[in-house]
């Protein structure tokens, strides 16, 4: 009798375990992405009664600093919302065997799927579903331009045009800064490519400092010397520390700000009707008019105990209707090609926000192949953190620009050697 009871209990437990698949989803958000996904998972749970997805909202720093260490020791969540595809690629789960229609996912997300197909990952693997395509680009304080009586440069204007116009506006209205660029190599890379930086050789190996890169670096340092650029942003920190100038733009201390589409929601919320602002559209250098693509996406990890369940979640996340619902709420640009074509009916957005979303989405086709290559490059974080460290040394006079660029090349070489 005891034996029968024990066997029955074991079977019941095993059956229960087989059905209750609990997945932990580590999520960070720029706006309301985690809440939006949590709401969508209600539908997922109804459609997949055996799987539960628990959303653990964490700060971005946890994704950048803690998650890689957890994954390195074989721990961590089943899924996460990340931006460092190259750095985390080796821990990611290829869900292609676990989805019913891989071709549909490929057709919609092909360009961003390539960002995680690096290193030893399969060249046709499905590792990431991007739910927030971002593009770097500029924002301008339209009210300042109107007050100053200066014509705002059109989309496609050059960096030199923007510098000249921004200086004129700054002097006319008496604000602190003409221009600012976020303190990160990711933002620096776009104008550098527009000035002709190739970044990679024919074999796909990085060659950071070339004539184009040097040309923009010289211009960038010169803009700091003549006061065009807000010195506080790059000189206000050390090492590879990230620093933005969103606060200066929101507080109307800045005429033109080069950042990215992820700021749109914040500007819509924080600027309100204090002043009018616009997205600048593509800004050109002598060689190109590119910005940098990027974005956050959801990935599964290979250590998961439930790869099929992770596959089911990823397929759900990739669905057009689900993505459209999340994007409408989060006010992000779609990475899904079908939705890019059809457009998103954003909920309750102001005129400024709607126009900015359209302008950023319109600028994406002008992005160069090099920009996509850099975004998909496994060691791009080494480039992004080394550039601010060394260029700032040239800005504050610790090193000459030549010395700084020489050190920058050496830093990248050292980082690549270490990464191997």
């Amino acid at each position: 009798m005891k034996r029968i009871l024990a066997t029955t209990a074991t079977l019941a437990l095993s059956a229960g375990m087989a059905h209750a698949q609990e997945l932990r989803f580590m999520c960070y958000q720029d706006g309301t992405e985690c809440q939006a996904w949590e709401a969508q998972f209600e539908t997922f749970h109804a459609e997949n009664p055996g799987i539960t997805v628990i959303v653990d909202e964490v700060p971005y720093a946890a994704i950048i600093e803690s998650l890689p260490i957890q994954l390195e020791v074989g721990e961590g969540p089943d899924l996460a919302r990340v931006t460092d595809y190259g750095g985390l690629a080796r821990y990611m789960l290829d869900v292609r065997p676990h989805v019913s229609d891989a071709d549909a996912i490929e057709a919609r997300y092909g360009q961003s799927l390539a960002w995680a197909r690096v290193g030893d990952n399969a060249p046709d693997g499905i590792y990431n579903i991007v739910d927030q395509l971002t593009a770097t680009g500029g924002f301008a304080n339209k009210t300042f331009f109107e007050q100053a009586g200066v014509d705002m440069p059109e989309p496609g204007a050059s960096w030199a045009d923007w510098a000249e116009a921004s200086r004129a506006v700054r002097d006319a209205v008496g604000v602190d800064f003409a221009m600012a660029i976020d303190r990160t190599g990711h933002r620096f890379a776009a104008p550098a490519m527009s000035f002709g930086a190739a970044l990679f050789d024919d074999n796909g190996d990085p060659i950071l400092v070339d004539d184009g890169f040097r040309a923009f670096a010289e211009q960038f340092v010169a803009w700091h010397e003549d006061g065009t650029m807000a010195r506080d942003v790059w000189a206000g920190a050390g090492g590879g520390t990230y620093q933005d100038a969103a606060g200066e733009f929101i507080n109307a201390n800045l005429v033109m700000y080069y950042s990215g589409s992820w700021q749109i929601g914040r500007f819509g919320r924080d600027i309100g009707d204090m002043f009018d602002w616009v997205a600048t559209g593509a800004i050109c250098g002598p060689e190109a008019c590119t910005g940098m693509p990027g974005g956050a996406g959801i990935v599964g990890f290979s250590h998961t105990q439930h790869p099929e369940a992770v596959g089911a979640v990823m397929e759900f996340i990739a669905r057009d209707d689900v993505q459209a619902a999340v994007l409408a709420q989060t006010r992000n640009i779609p990475a899904n090609a079908m939705l890019q074509e059809a457009g998103i009916a954003y909920e309750d957005v102001s005129e400024d926000v709607a126009a900015a979303l359209t302008a950023f989405a319109a600028s994406i086709p002008s992005f160069s192949d090099t920009a996509y290559a850099l975004q998909g490059y496994a060691n791009n974080r080494a480039i992004y953190t080394s550039i601010p460290a060394r260029i700032t040394q040239a800005i504050v006079g610790e090193l000459s620009l030549d010395e700084a660029l020489e050190r920058l090349d050496q830093d990248i070489a050292d980082a690549l050697a270490e990464a191997q």
């Binding site: 260490i69 506080d232 206000g236 920190a237 090492g239 974080r381 504050v396 610790e398 270490e418």
Partner: protein
Amino acid sequence: MVQIRAAGVALYEGAFNLLERPMLALQRVLGQHRLAWVFLLPNLLIFGLFTFVPIILNFAFATTSGDRIIIGDRPYVGAANFASLLDCESYLNPNTCRRDLFWRAVHNTGWFVVLQVGFMVLFSLITALILNRDIVLRGFFRAVFFYPVLLSPVVVALIWKWILQRNGVLNAGLDWAGFGTVNWLLEANWAFFWIVFVSIWANMGFYVLILLAGLQSIPGDVYEAAEMDGTPRWRQLLRITLPLLMPTMLVVLVLSLIRAVQAFDEIYVLTGGGPGSATTLLIQYIYDVGFATRPRVYGLAAAASLMMAGVLFVLTMAQLAATRKRGEDG
């Protein structure tokens, strides 16, 4: 009340008796001397786990390379990380070093330690001497000087950031008074001055307290005898106060020296190590290399931290030797 007290005593004695038999048995088996190790064991285990094991791991990381965190996955490179850090044409010129940022951090740390410790000990001593006298509102001023010690370093740094930033309180005051404003945290020399100043402001109260205790332990009759001999105040300071305060000063010096070498949080929040690398100290270099940049160069960070630990070890040994020598002399 008496009954409760008696019950408590009985309970205590019962528990004590309960332990007595097994302890006596253990003592018979191990002997009296070995029994001490049994009492020390829990503390030793915790100490070993959280202090010795990390030190050993640090050596393991320092002698391997790569961005993997599992030691077994990291290739052994011997002393290559140390050699890379020490690869310099001239240690006085960081630009000639392969790891120039490390040597900039070493130089910055050296200057920071000299200036911060020197001025902090001096100001702490002057403040303690004043607060030891019978001045008005003495208790209030003692609390005022100690108050910053109670604040979190991050709070201290944020307060001073609001004061020193471009549109901060200090510049607003200067502007109102008709003076020009200064970008205090964007000019290398000013930024360095302010990290020293803020660090002294935040930590001085702790050392003032130690020195006050030292001053109050000096017997009053020594001063009375000096007064009767007509010894002037400045001579009392030089011949009585300072010599008798020297052991306390030594403790203050060593503690402040070690804390200055380890400075990180206040400075990181206040300046981020900038502008450029003007306020990057050693701990921030280790943090940047090991955690903030990609790929994380754990080997280099571990080697740098071991070199810093070596310096701290030498400083501590010097302090012990000096204390022992004074003990033998005195």
